[in-house]
């Protein structure tokens, strides 16, 4: 999948001075199979970037093209297909359902595509050290635990690219590495890439390309 940003400028960021190498206001092309790191400090629009890319907001000038199609003209039905099969996402605010258990949160996502069984989801949870949280409500988990559940949920679908918005912000190094390993394995399985936003570059992070905002 080819993702093009053509002079995109979100309305809330229009008044800010952006550097010459910033993605905002310039032309950038992403290959979804690449592992891209989006490195920017707070307030530069990392979450805005993921939301614009996922079609969740259209308050920007310029164009975002997914395989040559303007995201603003993509219909909701097509977005459903994109979100189910092409682009997985870990939101910065996680967007889990606190009243549902971990199992229910994961099952809800897995049922959308029918690719994964509960057993597979449980193994991933086990790998990240959350096996005992399987039947616990997400609202009762710590932020770090919720973050790991959100990462697993995003991995329970087929994708060509996974968008990760500060996915390790509440994780210690060990857990962040484990999560990264899981993400890389899934990307490898599907020959997919990722687009990871972060506040700073970790030396353990594996990526092909780095862009700035």
């Amino acid at each position: 999948m080819n993702i093009e940003f053509i002079k995109v400028m979100p309305e809330p960021l229009a008044g800010i001075n952006h550097t010459k190498d910033s993605l905002w206001g310039n032309k950038f092309v992403f290959d979804s199979k690449q592992r891209t790191l989006l490195n920017a400090s707070s307030g530069k629009g990392k979450t805005t970037f993921t939301h614009c890319l996922m079609g969740l907001r259209n308050d920007f000038s310029g164009q975002i093209l997914l395989n040559g199609e303007d995201t603003k003209s993509i219909k909701l039905e097509s977005w459903v297909e994109i979100r189910q099969r092409k682009i997985a996402v870990v939101f910065q605010d996680l967007q889990l359902f606190p009243q549902l258990t971990v199992e229910e949160n994961l099952k809800l996502k897995a049922e959308l595509t029918g690719v994964f069984e509960s057993e597979s989801a449980f193994k991933k949870l086990e790998f990240l050290g959350l096996a005992d949280k399987w039947s616990q409500k997400c609202g009762l988990l710590s932020m770090g635990q919720q973050q790991r559940v959100a990462i697993i949920r995003a991995l329970l679908q087929p994708f060509e690219c996974i968008v990760l918005d500060e996915p390790f912000s509440h994780l210690d190094k060990e857990n962040a590495n484990k999560c990264m390993q899981l993400i890389l394995e899934r990307c490898e399985e599907q020959k997919a890439g990722f687009l990871l936003t972060t506040l700073d570059v970790n030396k353990d992070m594996v990526f092909d390309k780095e862009i700035k905002l």
Binding site: R83, Q95, Q157
Partner: protein, 393 residues
């Protein structure tokens, strides 16, 4: 899973109140539609006079009581009336000129006997099947059409005797007989009721039987013609009424009481019908409002579901099916309550001598279906609009 997410935490008190309101409204709606129809149909099937037909007689005045004016019709008067452009046909109502007694002749009912008055009218004026309305000498039964007042009187007697009252259908299955006599010789004739009338207050028998009895027990003298049947032209009934008024004629109007009764009961059910429409509409609105409230409470869930790839249509259908099921359950319960109410209302009517058609009217079932489809349509529209608004906010 979706259902568990969207409907797990909700304040069900408002849902219960709305559903209860809808239940009352639906129950009254089915009941009122059913009884509006059944009451309006009451007596229609058993009416035996054709359309635009009147039984006409001369007004009885003080002078006629003193024999200064005549109350019978001459042949000349009949032929003159028949020539009027607004009249289709005129025939005399032939009355008995001999003695007649009527009595029950069935082992299932106690003996009841009474002097009666029988009449015969031309069969063209009667709306009865010709295979039932015929008689010739030697046949086993004489068919007769009974005035409904007579059945009410018979039921009063039954009630006083501690015997269950008889419906129209049952009365038509019982055996009766007529005794005809000229004071010297007499004859018993078995009869069967084939229908009822509110318009004629005497027992009607076929013309052949009347001719036979008149010949045998009244020396062939049919007596004076005091009543005639007049069929007016469609749409020119006013002219006939004016003619009657100008010539001192009047029509028998025994149906006034039934009409008045139908009118009162019909008005009552019409009022209930209007109230039930308002109740169903109001409770439907509350249910729809509750759906909006539920969607609003689930704003985060709806938005997140669609963000993680849930199809909006499946979220819309989850809300739609939930409320359609609630309303469907209300309709089923409403229908069951209607059946219970119907049992008691029919009992009350029957105690009062009014035997309505007991089958459930198709129109009342259709009204339930129509209500369901209107609600389903409104629910689908609300769910669609609500989900898309929540997602786009």
């Amino acid at each position: 899973m979706l259902k568990s997410l969207l409907f797990r935490q909700q304040e069900k008190r408002q849902l219960f109140i709305a559903a209860f309101g809808a239940l009352l409204g639906i129950t009254f709606l089915i009941s009122s539609v059913h009884y509006l129809l059944r009451v309006s149909e009451f007596g229609e099937d058993s009416e035996i006079l054709g359309a635009n037909t009147l039984i006409v007689q001369k007004k009885v005045t003080s002078s006629s009581s003193l024999n200064l004016t005549k109350t019978d019709f001459s042949t000349n008067e009949l032929s003159k009336l028949k020539k009027e452009p607004f009249v289709v046909d005129v025939k005399p109502v032939v009355s008995n000129n001999f003695r007649v007694w009527f009595e029950t002749n069935d082992p299932y009912v106690p003996t009841f006997k009474s002097d009666v008055f029988i009449q015969a009218v031309n069969k063209n004026f009667l709306d009865v099947k010709s295979d039932k309305w015929h008689w010739k000498e030697g046949e086993k039964f004489v068919p007769m059409i009974m005035p409904r007042d007579f059945l009410v009187m018979l039921n009063t007697f039954m009630n006083a005797s501690g015997i269950p009252q008889v419906s129209d259908d049952l009365a038509m299955k019982l055996k009766f007989r007529l005794r005809i006599s000229d004071g010297q010789k007499e004859e018993w004739v078995d009869t069967r009721i084939i229908g009822f009338t509110n318009e004629i207050s005497s027992i009607l028998v076929p013309e052949n039987f009347m001719a036979y009895a008149t010949k045998k027990y009244a020396n062939g003298d049919p007596g004076k013609i005091t009543q005639i049947m007049v069929a007016g032209k469609e749409g020119e009934f006013g002219k006939l009424e004016k003619f009657m008024s100008d010539h001192g004629l009047e029509s028998k109007n025994s149906q006034v009481v039934v009409s008045r009764l139908k009118s009162i009961v019909g008005t009552l059910f019409a009022v209930i019908f209007v109230i039930s429409i308002v109740a169903v509409f109001a409770s439907g609105l509350v249910l729809i409002q509750y759906m909006q409230l539920l969607m609003s409470h689930n704003k985060y869930e709806v938005r997140t579901l669609i963000r993680i790839g849930q199809h909006p249509q499946s979220v819309i259908l989850a809300f739609f099916y939930y409320f359609v099921k609630v309303f469907g359950a209300v309709l089923i319960f409403g229908f069951i309550i209607f059946l219970i109410i119907k049992y008691f209302i029919d009992e009350i009517f029957q105690t009062g001598g009014i035997y309505l058609n007991e089958s459930i009217s198709i129109v009342s079932l259709l009204s339930v279906l129509l209500t369901f489809f209107i609600f389903a349509g409104a629910s689908l529209r609300t769910a669609k609009k609500g989900v898309m608004q929540l997602f786009n906010k």
